[in-house]
């Protein structure tokens, strides 16, 4: 399972980097989306996904004689959730910026967006 997730994250990274290096601004947006998903999946995978119970205490409390329960680690999920929200906000802004640049430059070709570097 971990291997499958790791390969998926790697594939997403590769596809995302590739799209970001294309000269099209639309592909930049798609690449940004894929890379942020890949990073989220990488965090989730590196933290060790498990099939344990959710980290909630049963209503009646712990069974007598046990100090701990084997539950899943909630931290990676909290991290990924935060990262997804941030990634979503940034992606929305990227989309607006690309649209605005497209309107101004009249092309989505990043090679043509070099007037600032001359």
């Amino acid at each position: 399972m971990t291997l499958l997730l790791a390969l998926t994250a790697g594939g997403l990274f590769a596809a995302g980097w590739y799209l970001m290096m294309r000269p099209s601004a639309v592909k930049l947006v798609l690449g940004v989306a894929l890379v942020s998903h890949a990073a989220n999946l990488a965090v989730f995978t590196a933290a060790g996904p498990s099939r344990r119970a959710p980290p909630l205490l049963p209503a009646e409390g712990l069974p007598p004689g046990t100090a701990t329960l084997p539950v899943a680690d909630p931290v990676p999920q909290a991290l990924v959730l935060t990262a997804i929200v941030i990634g979503f906000g940034v992606l929305a802004f990227t989309l607006v910026l690309v649209h605005r640049a497209y309107q101004t430059v009249g092309s989505d070709d990043l090679e043509k967006m070099e007037s600032a570097e001359r």
Binding site: V35, V43, A46, V75, T82, V105, A116
Partner: protein
């Protein structure tokens, strides 16, 4: 007094929220100014308390470390906070004097306050994930500030800035995941305790390289610097001064923090690599600047070469070198912000940033020349200005460690910096003005605007002189901060004091 460390986050966030709700222009300006002044007062207060009493630490919501959100201010953080407060107040004043009505109406002041919150949060964050979150707060505010105004060059520059920084964020997040997978914690103090016994060292080196790449992109080191000169000269001077002065240094702060507290298991490998990166950063930055003929692009390339000096201090990894790096960061923030302020003043007078079309300020505006000359000579490292002592300490540290080549590179680069500064001086200030008609873009001459825009530049030039004259005492403070970085027991004890989880 621990509650003090919450203020640098509460003040700007509250200010941003209030000025987003009440959108009157005069009101937003007032809130921005009051917020920046309060922030400076709070940050200076934190510096004073930290210097007297030691590390300040707050567990937000009373969740004990390492389970909750930890805010820590050690000496290094407190110094950075104090400088950030100074830049915040000066940047706000400059923006009040120079920003146009359109940018003001579309939220420049709330964005600036969010930027302060992000920067201060990054300096205070006690765990890696919160460092990531505060970085994002800071970056999102800077993305919008970069593009605000919607000129073609801004949109183009902003897109490059955005794309490259998103790559850095993804790398940072992946590194955070790897570290969490190894140690089961992200609290930096807890990591310093746990990482030496957790996991294979090779995996930590992989995470360290990801950190180096992620923060290296944000700090604009070789070979990740290309986004900086493509974007920093596009927004108005008020914005680019703050970005140039403060933002790349947050990347340097994060590099120093992670490579003194977290990724220190294989110093021989990681820090040697940092030394190579530092030398290449210094050289490529200064060579890039030689080829430029636009005021702010010359300055942007010099940011890169100066970042190399700071990273050099980290790579040498001795108490003196780290003290030099901290000294250099403070010096560079003051000087570079001042130079960008001056470039903006020149633009207000002539309506251009092209050095060929500027000129003659020596005859018409001798005051402006003085305010340029001080930070320019300080950047090149002439005594008795702050840049001289910053470079002296770093060169001394590299000689002590036997890195003669690095000392040679540092001295050579500072010579080329002097050449580059004298190029600006000759073209923009000394030689007679070209006969080009004045551009219609010049803002109407408002006396209040000139006072607000000129005062921060003068004060920063004065601070550079003061830092040079008071180099001895300030270097002592930097030495103590560096000592705390190299022996993080006090930091760890302050963060994990209540928990007792240090050994678990």
């Amino acid at each position: 007094m621990n509650w003090l460390v919450v203020l640098p986050l509460v003040i700007p966030l509250l200010g941003a929220a209030v000025s987003l709700i009440a959108r009157g222009r005069a009101f937003q300006r007032g809130i921005a100014l009051a917020g920046a002044a309060l922030l400076l007062a709070a940050n200076l207060g934190i510096l004073a308390v930290v210097l007297c009493q030691g590390v300040l630490c707050v567990q937000v919501g009373n969740w004990e470390a390492p389970f909750g959100i930890t805010l820590v201010a050690d000496r290094f953080s407190a110094i950075m906070l104090a400088v950030a407060g100074i830049v915040a107040l000066a940047g706000t004043l400059y923006a009040l004097g120079t920003l146009d009505g359109g940018r003001e109406r579309f939220g420049a002041y709330p964005l600036l306050q969010l930027l302060w919150a992000g920067v201060c949060g990054a300096f205070l964050a006690g765990d890696l994930f919160n460092l990531f979150v505060w970085f994002e707060v800071m970056l999102i505010a800077s993305y919008v500030l970069m593009a605000l105004g919607g000129q073609r060059s801004q949109l183009e520059g902003g897109l490059k800035y955005l794309g490259v920084n998103l790559v850095a964020s993804a790398l940072f997040l992946s590194a955070v995941g790897i570290v969490y997978g190894m140690a089961g914690t992200l609290n930096m103090a807890h990591l310093a305790v746990r990482l030496p016994v957790a996991g294979p060292p090779g995996l930590l080196s992989a995470a360290a390289m990801l950190f180096l790449s992620a923060f290296g992109i944000k700090a604009a080191v070789f070979p990740f610097f290309f986004w900086l000169p493509a974007s920093y000269h596009t927004p108005p001077a008020a914005v680019s001064a703050v970005l140039a002065g403060l933002l790349t240094k947050v990347g340097v702060y994060a590099l120093i923090r992670t490579f003194t507290l977290v990724a220190v298991q294989d110093v021989g490998y990681t820090h040697s690599l940092i030394l190579i990166v530092a030398a290449l950063t210094m050289v490529t930055g200064v060579l890039g600047a030689l080829a430029q003929h636009e005021f702010r692009r010359v300055l942007s390339f010099h940011i890169i070469s100066q970042i190399g000096y700071m990273i050099l201090g980290l790579g040498l990894f001795s108490p003196l070198a780290l003290a030099g790096a901290i000294f250099y960061i403070v010096h560079h923030i003051l000087v570079k912000t001042c130079l960008f302020f001056v470039s903006g003043l020149a633009w207000r007078l002539r309506g251009t940033y092209e050095l060929e079309r500027l000129g003659g300020f020596y005859g018409t505006h001798p005051g402006l020349c003085a305010v340029f000359a001080v930070p320019a000579l300080s950047l090149a490292g002439l005594p008795p200005l702050s840049g001289f002592f910053a470079k002296l300490v770093l060169v001394q540290a590299s000689l002590e460690m036997g890195h003669y080549m690095l000392a040679l590179v540092a001295l050579g680069v500072s010579l080329l910096t002097l050449y580059s500064m004298s190029k600006i001086w000759t073209l923009a200030f000394w030689q007679p003005a070209a006969d080009t008609p004045q551009s219609p873009r010049i803002a109407p001459h408002r006396s209040r605007g000139w006072l607000l825009a000129g005062a921060p530049a003068v004060v920063f030039a004065g601070l550079s002189i003061a830092l040079g004259l008071g180099a001895g005492p300030f270097l002592e403070v930097c030495r103590q901060a560096a000592g705390q970085l190299l022996d993080p027991q006090e930091y760890i004890a302050a963060v994990l004091a209540s928990g007792g989880y240090a050994c678990s």
